[in-house]
Assembly symmetry: none
Homo-oligomer: 235 residues x 2
């Protein structure tokens, strides 16, 4: 039989938490609760959930920041998140959804409504399971080719288009020395006509990339240069 789905509830109103938890358990879910933001963060990062319910107003770490943190965890980036808030103002709402919540419930709400939203999220064929995701990983770098996102250690690194493709080419050719010509052909395209002088643009992109993925950009460990030949991505 299928494993029970696990839900994390982060809400500071104990009464409400108890009610919601009870309702969810009655519906067959496995529920974990946290009464403040920090505890919620601890749980979110150390266990894996199928859904996270976050109150926006929380003591300590607020729901919006927490949501953002969670979205930056490579392993939890795609967990569905439902936000709860007392205020239904346009502003909060937009902010909430922009940080990547999947749904938004305005207090007060009925248990019935709550449950049906939860079920909706569970039904949704979320991109959560990395089953069909096309990924490349190496060391503590992981890159999701489907979503074009890159994670270093535990947090997301924002790369531009060229940087991303460049990195992908490197990761598909670990350990190999790649010439500028090869990189241009594979990142810019075979047909990219280029004068000898413009190969320097490769160097510049390498620099931007190093800036973002190296721990110490001036002493690059991941992408090393092979003088006179090109660059090499170390495993």
């Amino acid at each position: 039989m299928a494993r029970k789905k696990k839900i994390l509830l982060v809400e500071d109103d104990e009464m409400l938490t108890a009610n919601l938890a009870e309702k969810l358990r009655a519906d067959g879910y496995n529920v974990d609760a946290a009464l403040d933001g920090e505890t919620g963060w601890e749980k979110a990062r150390s266990d894996s959930y199928d859904l996270i319910v976050l109150d926006i107003m929380l003591p300590g770490l607020d729901g919006i920041s927490l949501c953002r943190f969670i979205r930056n965890l490579p392993e939890a980036a795609y967990v569905p998140i439902i936000m709860l808030t007392a205020r239904g103002t346009e502003h909060d709402r937009i902010q909430g959804l922009e940080t990547g919540a999947d749904d938004y419930i305005v207090k007060p709400f009925s248990l019935g409504e709550f449950l049906s939203r939860v079920r909706a999220q569970m039904r949704r064929p979320s991109p959560n399971r990395s089953l069909n995701r096309d990924e490349l990983a190496s060391g503590d770098l992981r890159l999701d080719l489907t979503a074009r996102r890159v994670f270093k250690r535990d947090s997301e690194v924002k790369l531009t288009n060229k940087e991303f493709t460049l990195l992908a080419v490197f990761m598909r050719n670990k350990q190999a020395v790649l010439s500028r010509d090869f990189l241009i052909a594979n990142v810019w395209g075979e047909d990219y006509l280029i004068g000898e002088s413009d190969k320097r643009t490769v160097d510049v992109h390498i620099r931007w990339l190093r800036e973002k993925i190296e721990d110490n950009p001036s002493r690059p460990k991941r992408i090393s240069t092979v003088r006179g030949v090109g660059y090499r991505f170390e495993g």
Copy 2:
């Protein structure tokens, strides 16, 4: 029919090992399991695998060290390695990822996810397979054309671009006496114009090369001089 791909599984949780092995076998792989680091090491060095799955936390020899050892085996240096790590143990995790694993999976994970990551590694036709790597070896010298690296008795020797191509030319023409003209044509390029007198530059490069690859540079054993003709690389 193609040979079954062989996977080595090093994980101390017997239950988990059994599950993973079963799943992998059902998917057509040949699975070998080890319940501790030492056994894993024995197997890794005495047999050849297409993929190795390592838990980080292991009794005795831990996964991180094991991974490092494997990466130092010349014949297994490029086997894809997937690490299994427990969530939350920030420190171990980061360390592990730097030793050159090709992917990592955070526990708890689903069997489906596990399998898809295994398949991803197997699918990869990258230079990770030692089979596809372009290598030249002779005695205790090994030179990896793809990565442009040279190893002398398992430790890397840093060569400059010219030195590297020079050595490659020698190793492709073992035992043959190569004239300076031949070397210039093959290392510097056919079109390299040079005054008769300046063939000395070849000698100078030979000298740097000897400095780096000979045990005793003043009594060269690998590259010997054939007076009046050129140089010869001894097997």
